[in-house]
Amino acid sequence: MAVDTSATTTGTPAGHVPGHLRAIWLFVESMWVWYRRNWRSSAFSSMLLPLLYLVAMGLGLGTFVDAGGRAAGAIGGVGYLQYIAPAVMVATAIQNATGEVTYPVLSGFRWQKNYWAVASTPVSPAQVADGHLLWVTLRIGLSALVYLVIAALLGAVASPGAILALPVAVLTGMAFGAPLAAYSATLDTEGQQFSVVFRFIVMPMMLFAGTFFPIEQLPAWVRPLAWITPLWHGNELARGVTLGGLDPLPALGHVAYLLALLVAGVLLTRRMFDRRLAS
């Protein structure tokens, strides 16, 4: 019963170095194997919670807003449900991305230590970083798609342009998620810092960066805070493509800002993974 170390069973050669993109994809594949076993635990928070927001705010609060007056005027004459639907998708993408780049990244280094296992194979730390970010991208994309379909069934989607809001949501989620992944990769703690991130960055951003009401309703001195959030840029874009009225120049500006955050985040994440796994 000695182990066969010559790999005669299948006749294929022993280990070799997978191609660059393939190596990244193999990490995604491993996350998928895990997800297939464990998706139930996260399905509620990532897919159903945003629909609760949509129903409670859009249908519940919406009846007051749509009744007329200053509020209805401020959102530009669309129904409140249609007004918030694209933005809730973007805000959810940020929340889901946050969930996937905080504790899971820390766990890869500290608890499960699966990053260390992968780094001892031909796959490099930067490829692990890319793989994790690509996995998060796909996950938040999948959640956004499920949300969009159900929102459409609820009559919350104003136009077919909402299809374009999907990539916007994913881009925005990763524009926030990638830099946060880099930060998570620097931590050597039990993750106490993450509750600060949730409470003082993600939640306020969701509430005040134009998801449920236009930021013009904020005092003028607070608005710049909304401008620096990726969520505001994502909300403007997602609403623009869904409800119309998006001017090319501001649109370009929003996309450029989000892309800049994303690229910086990816580069930093690669660097932090490399520093930690290959020192």
């Binding site: 294929t12 230590k113 194979t121």
Partner: protein, 303 residues
């Protein structure tokens, strides 16, 4: 694997201070030393996951700085702490890991079955890893390290924390691997492990190599054939030292006992009794690497 003047620095701290090592193909080679001797840092450099700070290093005839991924493709690594995916099954752990070596799904499926057989884990194939015993997890980690048919297997403290039965089972598996021609490099702070597994070893202390040879050679060179242990109540050994000093080539005074290094242990013990030395317990045994280490560094391996 060959290293010349190999150095690893972390900031101001020098973990490995210029070591020369050569491991030949098919050999089982050990790094023996206490915690903090620089064994794990050395292993990480050989595993191509930690760039060297200075010196020369060739692994499988390649330079880790240039060919890291190509070398890693042909290595098996058993880390000090298990890093299995505890939320996946035994089988999935092997298959997922195998895929990172560019192996096809069919290949890793077949290989996983073979390796579970080898590691005696077939019955637990589709169980999650989390509830497995420490020994089973360790066996799975070793099985996982073989998924790519490595030419060189690196084992960092392979049996630390396991009970004796689990350790013997692991040693047996490693011995079989050696029979099939796999080169083994093992770090350990257990002298029995080094004696069981290694054809040749180096003793490391404080980032340097202090001795090199086969276990038998090292014992011959640095110790006597036999050792007499005389155990005393605390403090009692001091009065006895001068009465046994001439019975052995060397006498070590430990907190609770005296070690007499003599080729004829029984004879030395009998003489000690005649002279009225009255220890509470005595033992005559053969010399081990523990004695070699004590001789070389003045300290014991396991603190």
């Amino acid at each position: 694997m060959r290293a010349r003047g190999l150095v690893k620095r972390f900031g101001d701290f020098e973990a490995v201070r210029g070591i020369d090592v050569e491991v030949r193909r098919g050999e089982a080679f050990g790094f023996l030393g206490p915690n903090g001797a620089g064994k794990s840092s050395t292993m990480r450099m050989i595993a191509c996951v930690s760039p060297r700070s200075a010196g020369e290093l060739r692994v499988l005839d390649m330079d880790p700085d240039v060919d890291g991924p190509r070398i890693r493709a042909r290595l098996g690594v058993v880390p000090q702490q298990d890093n299995l995916d505890t939320e996946l099954t035994v089988r999935q752990n092997l298959q997922v890991y195998g895929r990172y070596f560019g192996l096809s799904r069919a290949h890793v499926r077949a290989r996983a079955a073979e390796l579970m057989d080898f590691a005696q884990l077939t019955e637990r194939a589709d169980d999650e890893v989390e509830p497995l015993s420490g020994g089973m997890k360790r066996r799975l980690t070793i099985a996982r390290s073989l998924v790519n048919d490595p030419e060189l297997l690196l084992l960092d403290e392979p049996t630390t924390g396991l009970d004796p039965q689990a350790r013997h089972l692991l040693w047996d598996r490693l011995f079989r691997l050696k029979q099939t021609g796999v080169t083994l490099i093992v770090t350990t702070h257990y002298m029995d492990e080094a004696e069981q597994l290694c054809d040749r070893l180096v003793v490391m202390d404080g980032g340097r190599i202090v001795a090199e040879g086969s276990p038998a050679e090292l014992i011959r060179r640095y110790s006597s054939r036999e050792v007499v242990e005389l155990r005393f109540p605390p403090g009692g050994q001091d009065g006895a030292v001068h009465r046994v000093r001439d019975l052995a080539e060397r006498v070590e005074v430990l907190p609770d006992r005296l070690l007499l290094y003599a080729d004829d242990g029984e004879g030395a013990l009998a003489t000690a009794h005649q002279r009225g030395v009255q220890p509470v317990a005595t033992l005559v045994r053969r010399s081990t690497l523990e004695d070699v280490f004590l001789r070389l560094t003045g300290r014991s391996l396991v603190d």
